[in-house]
Assembly symmetry: C2
Homo-oligomer: 247 residues x 2
C-alpha cells in the first residue's frame, strides 16, 4: 500500500468561480490535476519528463464526491496519492479539505499512458510510477460507467477552440465539464450543486472538431446524464447527482 | 501623485498556459485583475463592498505592452497602482516582473463605476478611490481607440456560456481575448506572440447572447484588428501587434 501523499494549499480566486462565487466543477478538477502535476514533479517523474520519453498521461475516468464546493477567497488543501497500478491503468485518489481540515470533496481517477506517436495506450513501465510508492497489481478496477441517456432533453453545439487543447494536443479533460454543465439552464446551475460525478472519457477531440453536448434531466432524482458526441462517436459521458443550493 | 503600490507573486500553472506552454493573453489579464482585486481588498474597498453599495467596477479599455509572455511554472510578480481618477474614470497601471525583476509586461487600464440597478455609468465618489492614494483630476485621458476594420479576413461565432459571465452578470473582460484570438489560425497563435494590445469595451454581453468575432490580418506589419459584434452592435474592438515566436 502506498503512503506517499502530496499536499499543497490553494486560494480560490475570482476567475475560478462562477456567478455565485463557487468554484467551477472544471476548475476544481483543474486544481486537483495541478496537485497531481506537482506530485510528479516532486518525485522527479514530471509530466515534461514523461513527454520526453514519448508518452503522456491521459485521464480515462473521474469519480468525484462533493460535500461542498469551495468559494471565492477560501484557502483549501489539495491532497493526492497514487493508490495502485496495473498493466494499463494507474489509479490516484484526491482530497480537498477546508481550513479546519473538513473534507470538502474527494476524487478517484484512472489514468492511462498514451504513446504520443501512435496515440495508442501503452503498457505502464515501473519507472513511470515506482517513485509514487505504488507496486504493480494484477487487479483491474471495475469502475461503474455513467448510465446511458435514453432521451435527450437539451443539447448545445461546441467547436474545439485553441484554448481548449493542452500539451497532449487534444481537448483537456476539464473542458468537457464546461460543455456538459453549460447545456443545463443557468437558473439550474445557480440553484444546484453537484454532489457526485462519474465522468468517463472515450475518444479524444482535436482542434476544430465539432461536438454536441447532450443532456437528459431526471428532475425527481436530481440526476443529469451527459454525452459529448462528435458525430456518431461518443467522446465522453457523465452522470451527475445534484443537491439544491442556496447562496 | 499616488505611491500606493500593491504587489503579489504568482506561479503560472499549466491550465493558465496554451499548447506552447506560454500564459494565455486572457489569463495574463485575469492575473492582473486579481492583483487589482487584492489591492482593493487590502485597502478595505473590496469589490464585494463596492457591489454592496450598488456599484460594480467595469473595464472600458486596456493598453498592454508585452516583452515576453511568462511560461508554465515561472514565478512572476504582479504590481499595480491606481494613477488618477476624474468624474467618470479611474486609471490604473499594472506591471509584470520575472524572478530577476525584469519587466515582462505592463498595462494601463481605464475603469468606470457601473450602477448595478440602472446599468449606467455612475459618477465616481471619493470613497471608492481615496484609499488608493489618488486625488481627483479634471483631466480626461485621451486613449487612442483601436483602428477600425476595413475588411474581414476571418470570423467565428460564439454564444455566451454560463462560465463566461461574472458577478456583474455580464461577460467578463478576459473572455473577449479568447474569442478574438481563437478567430486566428492555430498555426499563427503557436508561432506568434502579442507585443502590444489595445482593447476597448463598448457594450456588455449577457448570458445566451450570440456574438461574432471578426478579424482583419495585416501580415506585412504583423497587426491584427478585431471586433466582437452582437448583430450590428459593436461590443468590443482591439488592435494587436505581433512578433514571431520560436518555442
Amino acid at each position: 500500500m502506498a503512503d506517499n501523499k502530496y499536499q499543497e494549499k490553494h486560494r480560490i480566486v475570482y476567475y475560478e468561480t462562477d456567478v455565485t462565487g463557487r468554484v467551477g466543477l472544471g476548475q476544481l478538477v483543474d486544481l486537483l490535476m495541478l496537485a497531481s502535476y506537482d506530485h510528479s514533479k516532486a518525485e522527479n517523474i514530471s509530466e515534461e519528463w514523461v513527454n520526453e520519453q514519448g508518452y503522456g498521461w491521459v485521464i480515462t475516468q473521474h469519480l468525484l464526491e462533493i460535500k461542498r464546493l469551495p468559494k471565492k477567497d477560501e484557502v483549501i488543501t489539495l491532497e493526492t496519492q497514487a493508490t495502485s497500478y496495473n498493466r494499463y491503468f494507474c489509479y490516484r485518489d484526491f482530497f480537498v479539505y477546508d481550513k479546519q481540515g473538513e473534507l470538502l470533496a474527494k476524487m478517484h481517477t484512472a489514468f492511462v499512458l498514451m504513446d504520443l506517436t501512435t496515440r495508442k495506450i501503452a503498457r505502464i513501465e515501473a519507472r513511470f510510477v515506482a517513485p509514487y510508492g505504488v507496486v504493480e497489481s494484477r487487479k483491474l478496477e471495475r469502475l461503474a460507467a455513467p448510465e446511458k441517456l435514453i432521451k435527450v432533453d437539451a443539447k448545445k453545439n461546441y467547436r474545439v477552440r485553441y484554448w481548449d487543447i493542452d500539451t497532449n494536443q487534444h481537448v483537456n479533460n476539464v473542458h468537457y465539464f464546461e460543455w456538459m454543465l453549460d447545456a443545463l439552464p443557468k437558473e439550474f446551475l445557480m440553484t444546484h450543486e453537484p454532489c457526485a460525478v462519474n465522468i468517463k472519457y472515450e475518444h479524444e477531440l482535436h482542434y476544430g472538431d465539432e461536438s454536441t453536448s447532450l443532456v437528459q434531466v431526471d428532475e425527481k432524482n436530481k440526476v443529469t446524464l451527459h454525452e459529448i458526441k462528435n458525430g456518431a462517436t461518443l467522446s465522453c459521458s457523465a452522470q451527475i447527482k445534484w443537491r439544491t443550493y442556496k447562496a
